[in-house]
């Protein structure tokens, strides 16, 4: 079946909400002899926003990095849209176009202007026509309120602006899922909001996302499900309202108490 534009969007939203996009089964990650992730099982549906919470060093960032092949896994399986991403012969360059990722450190390329940063992937990796990509880039920049900075260099931007550009850069690849690895952790407090608003906007549009964050209010607002990880294990998966009001495990209770004064 071929659908275009609006019809396609409506179709995806109405019928695919429970279509499995990413499936993690029994994932294990070791660094040398230490196991940092153990038997992780998680299914992410199309259009779903999953927020991963947990104390520092619990393995949540590592999990995200495993999902786009930046870390090799030692056991289990990752399936993306039905395709197995496990083993040595995975063509990650292909899947990374569909699995966008934004990091904690402002990861823009400092020697390129904003627009060059955004166009690099679509033009060089995806070989798309420049006119089309440029149009899309400008629309996205407009949406995050930074169209007027398109020719600026990263050093001329604030942390919050850089992160918004990094999000646009990932979005311009037309990913099917976005991974956010503590994207506001390195920001000054007054800039956190502008970045989170962009992510909230994406959630409203139905973007599938896996988000690692320490912003509890944001987690509650954006998440369809909360996954709580401690010491490399998933302890709890719950709806945000339930998780924050009534965490089931002791570890989660302790973790949430840290954020209360």
């Amino acid at each position: 079946m071929k659908l275009n534009g609006r019809a396609k969007e409506a179709f995806i939203i109405s019928t695919t909400k429970d279509q499995v996009l990413l499936e993690i089964q029994g994932l294990r990650k070791d660094y040398g002899t230490t196991t940092v992730l153990n038997d992780i099982n998680l299914t992410i549906h199309k259009g779903e926003v999953v927020v991963i919470l947990g104390p520092s060093g619990c393995g949540k960032s590592t999990l995200l990095r495993c999902l786009n092949g930046l870390e090799a896994i030692q056991g289990g399986e990752i399936r993306f849209a039905g395709k197995n991403l496990t083993g040595k012969n995975v063509h990650w360059q292909e899947y990374r176009q569909k699995i966008g990722m934004v990091f904690q450190n402002y990861d823009l390329f400092p020697h390129m202007s904003v627009i060059e940063n955004i166009l690099l992937g679509p033009l060089q990796v995806q070989k798309r026509p420049k006119k089309e990509v440029l149009e899309q880039a400008q629309q996205l920049l407009e949406r995050v309120g930074l169209l007027n900075r398109k020719d600026a260099y990263p050093r001329e931007l604030s942390g919050g602006q850089k992160q918004r550009i990094a999000i646009v850069r990932a979005l311009c690849m037309n990913p099917e899922i976005m991974l956010f690895d503590e994207v506001t952790a390195a920001l000054d407090p007054e800039m956190v909001r502008e970045v989170l608003d962009v992510i909230l906007g994406l959630a409203k549009q139905g973007m599938t996302m896996v988000i690692v964050t320490h912003e509890m209010g944001f987690a509650q607002a954006v998440a369809d499900r909360i996954v709580f990880i401690d010491a490399g294990n998933i302890c709890e998966i719950a709806k945000p309202a339930e998780f924050f009001a009534n965490p089931q495990t002791e570890r989660a209770q302790q973790f949430l108490n840290i954020f209360q004064f």
């Binding site: 990374r96 990861d107 990932a170």
Partner: protein, 225 residues
């Protein structure tokens, strides 16, 4: 007395001969710097690769040039290698080979240092965009590394220009050798000719090397703003 010595420079075809010698010096240095830089980028990439064996081989290669004097390398390739293979190698060709190999070894180390100094998340964010190995180096890593390696590369280049003076020892008539010949012929008549000839060569080397360091300063300033 000093004034009369300066005439040695302009006597006969002396000036022309000196310039001819300078051309050979510059030619050897220029070819070696270009070849050395190109090979050096490859050596640098290999030295940051995952393979321990390849890394070791390249490291060993660098040490061969650091430990063994360039003069010995010149002698070895000029006198030693032809003897075994029963061929004759021109002195200038030997000079270009040795200086290129030396340049590649040292440049490889500069490239390695620059690549390793780049933040790791630059590699990861490039990978996360789906860039393959070559795209990652071409668009993300090498452009950034170039800026970091420029001071070292220019320094190496001027060192190479200066060290070409050793080629006299394998019979290449470079600017220093021409100078010596001129002095030998005129020293009895003109005791100050050494001062004038070597003084002039002094300036010639300066003329080659100074623009190089000027260029590096300029590029650095440009990239910083």
């Amino acid at each position: 007395m000093l004034n009369s010595g300066i005439s040695v420079l302009t006597e006969g075809s002396n000036l022309l001969r000196l310039m001819g010698g300078l051309l050979i010096t510059a030619r050897i240095a220029l070819i070696a710097i270009i070849l050395g830089s190109l090979l050096g980028i490859i050596v640098g990439l290999v030295r940051t690769s995952k393979s321990r064996v390849l890394r070791f081989i390249c490291r060993f290669y660098l040490e061969l040039f650091r430990i063994i004097p360039i003069l010995v390398w010149l002698f070895f390739v000029y006198f030693g290698v032809p003897g075994i293979f029963d061929i004759h190698l021109e002195g200038e060709l030997v000079a270009v080979i040795v200086f290129s190999l030396w340049g590649a070894a040292e440049m490889g180390d500069i490239v390695r240092g620059a690549l390793e100094s780049l933040p790791k998340h630059q590699i990861e964010s490039g990978k996360a965009l789906g860039l393959n190995f070559w795209q990652l180096y071409r668009f993300v890593l090498l452009p950034q590394a170039t800026r970091r390696m420029l001071p070292g590369a220019i320094n190496l280049s001027t060192r190479m220009v200066k060290t070409t003076s050793l080629v006299v020892m394998i019979g290449v008539i470079d600017v220093v050798k021409v100078g010596q010949q001129i002095i030998e012929r005129s020293i009895l008549k003109e005791p100050t000719s050494s001062f004038w000839i070597y003084g002039f060569i002094f300036i010639l080397y300066f003329i080659i090397c100074y623009p190089l360091s000027k260029l590096s300063k300029k590029l650095e300033a440009k990239w910083e703003s």
